[in-house]
Structure formats: structure tokens, C-alpha cells
Symmetry: C2
Subunit: 440 residues, 2 copies
């Protein structure tokens, strides 16, 4: 098991542009983040060190479920009749059922070490919220979760999990913050979005000296904590005598994608390896494939710093797909820079294709995947089929970011023929980005 996280900032050719103050639009330093985060996480956020030590207490907690298994998907390969070798890293075996505890535990740990007693956060499908509930419960920190309203209703079991771990969960937009009340006054029936929920959580933390905020994706330190996934996978592949030609992760804010791919991108940068790295995003929220690279807010109300990112505009409210964790308007600064520099690729997938892939995976490999993870599976299947057409053996690695036990109703709707594809129109994207021009 790794004892250090990998920081890609040390090796990427072009570093991301700096974040800007939301008011002055001037570059900000680390001190601007102190109302929201403990100092140790801010240091990690701006660090240029290649390796960051994982605290022993966090390593001990990782041992509850890490190292996670790396599997060769023999039965899926057989069903596809592909010459490709497909491997997947199974992050679904964590207590919360996804990769999210990899960063929830260190974030709660650093807050605990600095005496923080209360944290706010947001969650989409609930994977992040439940992971942070588990972590905060462990360190005796009180947690308030703003859960995107559509997911709150679609995924009641997730809310119950968070309650079981002692967290307070409210559907967002809520009437507990100015940001929430503002949205509700304009759109009383708003299904919510990660951007709105972030506004609520950030506002509540910023207004209270004793409360900090935690984010489950997007930021550098979060992506870095997830690199345990890729570091373990590389060692496991080495034991199997293999190295990936293609690496795939589903993409919401970028955390599981970065986790599986950054330690492999490192060898592209430093040793001339040529692994293709592919982000799999939903066709209904296509920021990487159809968004624009520019400064934008991380939240809907414009409370966060401006970040250089591929974005659909922070007012973009995606369709209510079941992959709630991928319903986010923007990408983090590092991933956006990598995409801009054409060092990674992106593909979008429609909802029906993702469920088709998820069912095939469940029936061949035995694990029912989360709707988010089915995006990575769908792209892995595309690439395996391409290998078949080309008659080439390729080694494909994807991250199974979470299981779908909590999302069975989505599968039920799929089998009942109630799910539809929704692709965003060019006009919708243009309008959302035009709004952005007005604000900035």
C-alpha cells in the first residue's frame, strides 16, 4: 500500500493558471482559502512537491478496505469477443461503497488535527456525502450535508446511510442559506445541482468562524488523495506483468478519474510512455467534449474563487440523469489544463448506453456498478470493441468507482423502459455560456 500521495503538479508540462478572487478578479494566494479549509489542506492545494506523506493515522484507516482489488474482466472480455485485456480497479469495496473515503478520511483527519468541530459539504448522488459522514463520525466532527434535491428524492437510501453515520442532511436548494433562498425565489421547483449545493455549503462555512468546508472533487488536494488508486493499480498490474495502453475513469469533478490516471500520466510525462487517458462524461453534461475553457466559478452563486476550467457555465442545470455524481458544470484546473494541452482525451456517453454497459458488466463480472461508474465501463467496452475491429490486443484499465446497490431503482427504471437519452443542444450550451460572459 502506498505511503505517499502523488502530486501531478510536479510533472505536468504546463501548470494551471492561478485562481482569481471572485470580487477583484485578481490572483489569490493560499491565505484566501483559510476561512474554508484547514492549513494543512491549503498547503497541499498549492504544493509543488511530487510526493506528500500519508499520515500514519490515515494509512491505518485506509487498511479497513485498502488495497482494493484489481481484477481482470475475463467474463466481460469473453462476452465481447475482444482481443483486448480489460482490467478494473474495484473501489466499490470501501465502507461507503465508492472511492470517496480515500479523500474523506484525510480531509476529516486534517480538520480534526486543527481542532475543527463542524464541517459543511454538498453531495450529488450521495457518494461523497456518505463517505464524509463516515469520516467525520470517526473523528467526532459534526457534519451538515447539502444534498442535490433530485438525488435526495431519487436516492433515499443514501440519505439514510448519512443519517446512520450521524450526519444532518438537507435537500438543496434549501431555505437555510441566502444562496438557497435566492435560487428558490427564482426557481421554486429547482431540482438542484452540485453548483447550487456548493454555494450553500460554502456560504454556511464562510459565515461561521467555527465551521469549515470540505469538497469531494475538483480541487488539487482532493485529486491527489485519490492517487492511491492508480499507485496501487500500477503495482498490481506489475505483478500481473502488464501496463495499460488505455486508462479510463468516469468524470464528474475529476477525482476518481485523476485517482486512476495521474500516476500513469506521470510516466507519459517522465518516461515517454504513451498511455491514452480517457475521461468518460455524460452526454447530458458534456463540459469536457463541448464546454469552453475559461475562468468560471465552482458554484452557482459565485462565492468560490474563479478557476480556469472547461465549463458549461456555472448556471448550467443538467438533466436529471441517475449518475448524480457527474452532474457538475465544470472540471478542476489541473484536468482542464491537461485537456487543453491534449494530454488527455474525453468521450461523452448517453444514459441508455451506460445502463446497457452496466447490465452487461453485472451479468458477466457479477458486480452491479454505480450509474457514474457505468460511464467508464461504456467507454471501456467501446475501446475493447475498437480493438476487436482492428484485431489488436490492447490493455485497458478502468476504475470501478462505486457499486450500484443504492441505485437499484435506476436499473429498475431502465428495465421498465422508463429511462431516456437527453442530449444537450448547442443552443442550450451557448445560452448558458453567454450568461457567463455577462457575469465575468
Amino acid at each position: 500500500m502506498p505511503t505517499q500521495w502523488y502530486n501531478i503538479m510536479a510533472d505536468m508540462p504546463n501548470k494551471p493558471l492561478p485562481p482569481l478572487h471572485p470580487g477583484t478578479k485578481q490572483p489569490i494566494g493560499p491565505e484566501a482559502l483559510t476561512p474554508l479549509f484547514p492549513m494543512e489542506l491549503i498547503k497541499q492545494e498549492v504544493s509543488a512537491d511530487r510526493w506528500i506523506d500519508i499520515p500514519e493515522e490515515v494509512q491505518d484507516l485506509y487498511k479497513i478496505w485498502r488495497p482494493t482489488p484489481l481484477h481482470r474482466a475475463y467474463h466481460l472480455e469473453k462476452a465481447l469477443g475482444t482481443p483486448a485485456k480489460i482490467y478494473y480497479k474495484n473501489e466499490s469495496v470501501s465502507p461507503a461503497g465508492s472511492h470517496k473515503p480515500n479523500t474523506a478520511l484525510p480531509q476529516a483527519y486534517y480538520n480534526y488535527k486543527e481542532g475543527v468541530k463542524r464541517i459543511t459539504t454538498e453531495t450529488g448522488a450521495g457518494q461523497w456525502g456518505s463517505a464524509l459522514s463516515f469520516a467525520c463520525q470517526h473523528f467526532g466532527i459534526e457534519l451538515k450535508v447539502f444534498m442535490v434535491k433530485v438525488s435526495y428524492h431519487q436516492k433515499p437510501y443514501r440519505k439514510m446511510m448519512m443519517n446512520t453515520w450521524g450526519a444532518d442532511v438537507v435537500p438543496s436548494p434549501s431555505d437555510q442559506t441566502e444562496a438557497g433562498r435566492h435560487i428558490l425565489s427564482k426557481y421554486p421547483d429547482s431540482p438542484g445541482s452540485l453548483g447550487i449545493a456548493i454555494s450553500e455549503a460554502v456560504e454556511m462555512a464562510a459565515k461561521d468562524d467555527k465551521t469549515k468546508y470540505a469538497l469531494g472533487s475538483v480541487l488539487n488536494h482532493v485529486l491527489m488523495h485519490q492517487t492511491v488508486i492508480g499507485l496501487e493499480a500500477l503495482k498490481q498490474l506489475e505483478i500481473a506483468g502488464d501496463y495499460p495502453d488505455i486508462v479510463i475513469g468516469c468524470f464528474g469533478g475529476g477525482s476518481n478519474f485523476a485517482g486512476i490516471s495521474f500516476p500513469i500520466l506521470r510516466y507519459n510525462f517522465t518516461e515517454g510512455k504513451k498511455t491514452r487517458v480517457i475521461a468518460a462524461e455524460p452526454a447530458s453534461c458534456p463540459k469536457l467534449t463541448r464546454g469552453q475553457f475559461q475562468y468560471d466559478f465552482g458554484d452557482t452563486e459565485g462565492l468560490t474563487p474563479l478557476i480556469p476550467m472547461f465549463t458549461l457555465g456555472h448556471n448550467f442545470v443538467p438533466d436529471n440523469i441517475h449518475a448524480g455524481g457527474l452532474r457538475y458544470h465544470g472540471a478542476g484546473a489541473i484536468v482542464s489544463q491537461l485537456l487543453k494541452d491534449k494530454l488527455i482525451e474525453a468521450q461523452s456517453v448517453k444514459q441508455l448506453e451506460t445502463f446497457e454497459a452496466g447490465v452487461l458488466f453485472a451479468r458477466t463480472e457479477g458486480i452491479i456498478p454505480a450509474p457514474e461508474s457505468t460511464h467508464a465501463i461504456a467507454v471501456a467496452i467501446r475501446e475493447a470493441q475498437k480493438a476487436k475491429e482492428e484485431g489488436k490486443s490492447k490493455t485497458i484499465l478502468f476504475n470501478l468507482s462505486g457499486h450500484g446497490f443504492i441505485d437499484m431503482s435506476a436499473y429498475d427504471q431502465y428495465f421498465a423502459g422508463k429511462l431516456q437519452d437527453h442530449e444537450v443542444t448547442d443552443v442550450e450550451i451557448k445560452e448558458s455560456l453567454a450568461l457567463l460572459d455577462k457575469v465575468l
Copy 2:
């Protein structure tokens, strides 16, 4: 990983009495089971060999999630302030979320090898049904699951999991069998029971030459397949330099209990070890602590052979507790003989105590347990507290048979104060057993 299953029949001091024909009441031989089971499983059912080889194909499938982790519950120990060391074997990491695939896969395998194309089964909480769905899907066998009606409605996600793995699921009692119609004519609102569901599944298989039946607990071969749990645990404990003073499993039909405990009982029988082995059953279905040892049917309609067992009577319909997998009127022949000979112990636990234990476990160890498994946790906590009172260090091992992701609504009801304790009265037990006397 073990390459053989352990058969306790080779080592137990008194062998169980033989099964009797349901009509003639005379002892039956293996040939009587051929309409229901493939020959290889019947051989295992009556085998006296200490070790049975695990087929390589099954070993390969076990590798999807085995060996399962053995954890020391440091955080639970700390919360209890106990000098006891508490270990748990985590069977929740399997694709279906419980220990049930350990026997579902070999059962499906042997049926497949003998050309069986269709299987019927019953399921309570759905753990067994989903495990067998996964296994049958793998081997291309069609599966029909009779799911106890109350669980069918309490646990819709379990049904959806079975559908995702391609199985056909009907609530029991159903109108698809004589047994089901008979019950419905007497009790139109019957919540169902495992006994009723077994009647339906057995009837359907017995009437069709091309259909076999599979059972998830009770029978010797099923219990034997589960011994991979205890065999692994012993090896893992050896690495930790430990050996259990107390072993605990929750108890429905006996499969996870036998799985964790039989390989340890072996050393009680053969090497004079004195490990206490405790079955944890619900107070609302107390066959081991308050039932009677006698011949009884495995099902409600009297279609199965008569088995020598601790029973509450095959007509007993337990309260609708959330631990649906433990709502069974009887215990298997081997476990019943062991209890009669005082080689194992039993404790009953009320529902509220089990959920209290489950929440404490989730908040300390991070894993949300299945309602069935919380019975084992509750007894482990009792024994750890007793060790504290006595000021003695004890090594306690329990089996975490499954996770509770599918049972979150049970936790929700617990937090909302909607769950109640239900203890069976002596009169109810007496009446149920009196009915039995009339039949036999």
C-alpha cells in the same frame, strides 16, 4: 485460500439421525433426493469424508472476492472499553453483499455440469436469491425465485438486484403453485415465511423433470460450502498470532453460523480446544433457545423430508422483523445435534438491541451491517461487556455475514422510533408445536 471444504460429519461425536420420508416416515436414502438436486450435491449431502475438493472453476470464481478480510474491531473495542479482542470476518464484500455466493456458485456449477437448465429457489431477505441469481446468470441457468412476501415489499432493491442478474422473482405465497394457493385460501393476507416459499419452490421443481431446486441454508452440503469462511479466518488469525475463545454467527438456517464455526469446532473435537460457539437468533423466532428437538418438515406444506431439528413447528409464522433471513422455523440436522449435545450454545436477541448494536458498529467500524448480521454483533458486544465485567481478556470472533446497503429503510425506521420488540409468548410456541403433533 482453501482448496477443500471441511465436512464436520467426519468429526462430530454423535451423527444426526437420518431424514425420513414425508409420507412413509421411514429413513430415506440419497436416491430420494434426485428429483431435487444434482447427484454431486447429493453425494456431498451424505458424505462422511472430512475434506471435499473445491472444483477449480469454483475456486476461480471465489477469487472475485475471496479471501475476504478479517478485521480487528479496534474502534468498537475502544467504544466498549473492553479488554476483549474482537475480530470479524467481512463476508459483505462479495458481489451479492453476503456470504451466500460461497454456496450459490458451487450449487449452480454442479447443476450446470449435470446439464440442468432451470432452478427454483426461495429467499427471505433476498441475500440468497440475489447470490443464486448471480451464480445462475454466470452458468446460463434460468432461475425462478419465490421471495417471502413481506421482504418482497420491505426490500424492493433486492428484487431489482435479482432482476439485474436476470432472475424471475415472485412474492410468496403466490398463485403459481398448489402450496401457495392453499396458503392464500386460508390466509389471504399471509406475509409469507421461508417455510411457505420453500414449499412453493420444491413443488415446482418436483413437478418438472427439467427443473432442479436449490436451498441456501440448512442442508449439510450448503453448510459445508460455507466453511471457506472459518478456514480462511483460522489462517488469518494465525498470522495475527491469535485463536478465538468465542465464535459467534447469526442464525437463520445455520449456513453462515456453520461457515465461521465448524472449522473451529473441529479443534474442540479433535484437539481438546474449548472455544465457545454461539448462535445468535432473533427473540421473535427462537427455535434454538425455546424450540423443541424433534422431527419436522423443512417447509410449511410438508413436501420436504422430515429432518431431526430444533423447531418451533413448520406452521410458525414469525413476526415481520427486518432480519428476514432469520425468519425460519427450524435448524438444520447437524446444528441441531450439536446443540442437543451441548457442543454449541445459543442466545436470542430482541430487534431493538440488534439495531443499537448495528448503529454502534457502523459508527465505530464504518460498515453498515445487514439486520441479520447485527444479531451476531449484539452477542459479540454482550460477550465483550461480560469480559469487561470479569476483567478478562477474551478473543471474540464473529461473522459479518452481509452489509445493510439494501436495508437502509430498516435503519430509517429504527431512527424514527418505529421499530418495536416482539417476543413470542410461551402459548404461541406451545400452540405451534401442538399443531405439529397432530401432523406427525
